[in-house]
């Protein structure tokens, strides 16, 4: 055995030094910069609407969009029924739903936003077991106007049940489960969520800012762009009908698209509980494609609890 050969002792130490130094520079040093980032409005909206995690998690092992909050537009006070001066967007976490990262680990919110959320927003009072309703508020911190997370269950007494009991289904948006669909279906293999800092401004909108991602997981930036960037797609196209046609078969609205069909996200039945006959639809579409039919077959309206509803809500939420 020649383990103790002197050169290798020196070599092993040099190796540790080199790799350790590399990790110091590429991991430890950037961590200070990243930890210093302060959540923006965008980050709070993203993490509150997506919830704990949109990738694989114990609370949703098959990525069915479970363990997710819903985003609700509240027009009347859920307790008194009195119309609010201004409609509020709230994020409803029903009892048992994992709370978002900024609530469980408030350091992630960044200086100021964390303090406001803890003191004014009372986020530490939120409990997974009983659920909570959050909203984004703004307040002054050291002379700066900063957004913060407000636990409306603690500050206003708005419980998840009270909000959902009064909510009109048209004002309920399943952005959280939609983000799960976005991750599960691999939308991000082609659609990036990162307009580039160089030439993308005009076509795809502004690149994200530092602080736009706090608490979001996964960020799903994407790297291999084969399709338009979607970070601000909701600002370019806010038509639910267009999205519906496009997801069912992209060639209905864009003949040259190479996007796959996502008709299977409609599930078994349509909005009226009628079974969707996919084979018939595809056969009729093929006839239309070959010019044997004047119009394409009708795209069925999706059911309220279908997976596609969440995905469309998520895409439209990307403002």
């Amino acid at each position: 055995m020649s383990v103790n050969f002197r050169e290798y002792k020196i070599g092993a130490r040099m190796f540790g030094l080199a790799l350790g130094g590399s990790m110091l520079i590429t991991l430890l040093l950037p961590s200070f910069d990243i930890a210093a980032s302060v959540s923006t409005d965008v980050a709070l909206d993203k993490q509150l609407s997506a919830g704990w995690d949109s990738g694989w998690q114990l609370g949703d092992p098959l990525l069915k969009g479970h363990n997710k909050p819903v985003k609700v537009l509240v027009k009347n006070d859920p307790l008194t029924g009195v119309a609010l001066a201004q409609a509020e967007t709230v994020y409803v976490y029903p009892a048992g739903t994992s709370l978002p990262n900024g609530v469980t680990h408030s350091d992630n919110l960044g200086a100021g936003v964390k303090d406001l959320s803890l003191e004014k927003g009372k986020i530490k009072d939120a409990k997974k077991e009983s659920g909570a309703v959050f909203l984004i508020n703004h307040g002054a911190f050291n002379g700066n106007n900063l957004p913060y997370v407000e636990n409306a269950t603690a500050t206003k007494g708005w419980t998840p049940d009270a909000v959902m009991a009064k909510a009109d289904d048209a004002n309920v948006s399943h952005v959280g489960s939609g983000k799960t669909m976005f991750v599960r279906e691999g939308c991000w293999w082609c659609h990036t969520l990162l307009p580039e800092q160089t030439q993308d401004w005009q076509a795809f909108g502004t690149p994200p800012m530092l602080g736009d991602f706090n608490g979001e997981s996964p960020t799903a930036f994407g790297s291999d762009r084969k399709a338009p960037d979607l970070l601000h797609v909701g600002s370019r196209n806010s038509s639910k009908e267009w999205m519906m046609l496009h997801f069912f078969n992209p060639r209905l609205v864009q003949p040259h698209s190479i996007m796959p069909r996502f008709d299977y996200l409609w599930g078994e039945v349509d909005a009226n509980g009628k079974k969707i006959d996919f084979d018939k639809w595809r056969a009729e579409y093929n006839e239309y494609h070959e010019g044997k039919r004047v119009a394409a077959p009708e795209v069925p309206m999706y059911a309220k609890d279908s997976e596609i509803r969440g995905l469309i809500d998520f895409v439209l939420s990307l403002k």
């Binding site: 055995m1 020649s2 383990v3 050969f5 040099m14 190796f15 080199a18 790799l19 590399s22 990790m23 520079i25 590429t26 991991l27 950037p30 910069d33 990243i34 993490q47 949109s54 990738g55 694989w56 092992p61 098959l62 990525l63 990262n101 992630n108 991750v183 599960r184 279906e185 691999g186 939308c187 293999w189 990162l194 307009p195 580039e196 800092q197 030439q199 994200p208 800012m209 530092l210 602080g211 736009d212 991602f213 706090n214 979001e216 997981s217 996964p218 960020t219 930036f221 790297s223 084969k226 399709a227 060639r251 864009q254 040259h256 698209s257 190479i258 796959p260 069909r261 299977y264 595809r282």
Partner: protein, 469 residues
């Protein structure tokens, strides 16, 4: 092979685990490139093969292809090379054949499970670290740590005083891949979010290539070329330069994958400079191997293993010229996120690295099974179909990427870019399908070698024997 799982270590014939790994890697190569060909077809003909539901949708299959080739083909071919080359260079036996056989079995089981869950959509949503964390933990504990222990113990119990270049790389890379696996997946283990998650995703993706795939592939060439040509390695010192510059320069540029993200500017600039310095290990490696070929260039034509290895080395030249410069701010803005990068990734994994591993698997399986390759013709068919198929893929995707880059800066409506790229999508599918078919030929050739290859007498090397077919 499965009968050796419960045999005594002494009763397992030397080379068993390497043979097991070798055949497993070829099977995964066939599966991985088959999936690649199918994925390419989905992009070229989006309305074909519908009706299968989510399991045949591109978004469910892309990551299965990527992980089958990286953790099935490439990493298992590496394990094969380690099980075979590490003991040879230490003039000893593999520390534990039994551990090797178990390692390969657990690897096949874990990878099959991991690919199945990915296929079902159970993903972390992080590119290259797509496996959910329970699979990541499994791969670290049941795959990479046992592999590393076997390699390290074989080196520690060697019967030579020095350690040859190849074994430095094997020992260091098996260590580094464990670190990369554990650190890169911290966001999943501890639910780290936001930019930390995004950055660590690319820290993992960069380092799994830089500290695992690239150095191990190069280490294999440091063995195959001197062994088959009979020339000593041109320079041990250039080998040192290669090794140390990999550790120092290749481990640092992770942020250059996210040049457009709001990461700290100092980090992006640092990463970009370090990224150019990757040319140091790259040039050291290529020059060392090509200079070792002095006087034996006839073998580039005549010998299959040398031809594979040297082709891989030659492909490292465009690979590193692209890699060094495309990540600088001056060029990155044009090609980032385009097919150019897809072409570059295939140049690294299917060009450079695959050709080097292919040589190791050819050489190792023949040596360990003591059988001459069944058919030179089929070997040549494999080589040329692989090279031509890859070249079609690489050239078509590079052109597609340049079109996309131009479309990006001139703000062409995106759909016009899709239309312009369509012919190249078809070409990519044809190239990828050629690669897939060539690997079926290879699997057949290797299977027939095991069954009917000419027996290589004791004390002889397979490359000294004549082909019979």
């Amino acid at each position: 092979m499965l009968k050796y799982l419960f045999a005594k270590n002494e009763d397992i014939p030397a080379g068993s685990s390497a043979i097991y790994f070798g055949f497993s890697s070829i099977v995964w190569f066939v599966i991985g490139t088959g999936l690649g060909s199918f994925n390419a077809a989905k992009l070229a003909f989006p309305d074909a093969f519908v009706g299968g539901g989510e399991f045949f949708s591109f978004g469910h299959m892309r990551q299965v292809h990527v992980h089958a080739v990286i953790f099935g083909w490439i990493s298992m071919a590496f394990a094969m090379a380690m099980m075979y080359i590490t003991p040879v260079l230490g003039n000893t036996k593999l520390w534990s054949e039994k551990l090797g056989v178990w390692n390969c079995t657990l690897w096949n089981v874990g990878l099959s499970l991991g690919l199945t869950v990915l296929w079902a959509g159970m993903t972390s949503g992080r590119e290259y670290s797509d496996f959910p964390w329970f699979i990541d933990l499994y791969l670290a504990v049941a795959v990479f740590i046992p592999l590393a222990v076997n390699v390290w113990m074989t080196i520690l119990t060697r019967r030579t005083q020095g350690i040859y270049t190849t074994n430095w790389f094997f020992a260091a890379a098996t260590f580094m891949v464990i670190i990369v696996f554990i650190v890169g997946n911290l966001p999943e283990f501890f639910h780290l979010t936001g930019l930390t998650e995004a950055y660590l995703t690319w820290w993992f993706a960069h380092n799994v290539l830089g500290l695992w795939i690239t150095p191990v592939a190069a280490a294999i060439a440091y063995y195959t070329i001197p062994k088959v040509t009979g020339n000593p390695l041109y320079s041990h010192r250039i080998g040192h330069l290669h090794f140390w510059s990999v550790v120092v320069f290749y481990s640092t540029p992770a942020a250059h994958h996210l040049m457009s993200s709001p990461l700290p500017e100092w980090l992006k600039s640092f990463a970009s400079v370090e990224g150019v310095l990757i040319l140091v290990p790259a040039i050291a490696f290529v020059s060392n191997i090509l200079l070792t070929m002095q006087g034996k260039w006839n073998m580039f034509v005549e010998n299959l293993e040398v031809r594979f290895t040297v082709t891989g080395c030659l492909l490292a030249i465009p690979l590193n010229m692209q890699g060094g410069f495309q990540q600088t701010r001056a060029i990155n803005w044009y090609v980032h996120g385009t097919g150019w990068i897809v072409a570059h990734a295939h140049l690294a994994l299917l060009g450079f690295s695959t050709f080097l591993e292919g040589a190791a698997v050819y050489l190792g399986l023949q040596t360990l099974m003591k059988r001459k390759l069944y058919s030179l013709t089929l070997g040549n068919v494999h080589f040329w179909m692989l090279l031509i198929g890859f070249s079609i893929y690489w050239i078509s995707m590079t052109i597609a990427g340049l079109i996309q880059g131009a479309g990006k800066i001139y703000e062409v409506p995106y759909i016009d870019v899709v239309i312009a790229e369509h012919p190249y999508m078809i070409a990519r599918w044809l190239g990828g399908t050629m690669v897939f078919i060539s690997n079926i030929v290879w699997l057949y050739n290797m299977w027939m070698t095991a069954r009917e290859g000419t027996v290589v007498p004791a004390g002889r090397m397979p490359h000294e024997m004549a082909y019979e077919r």
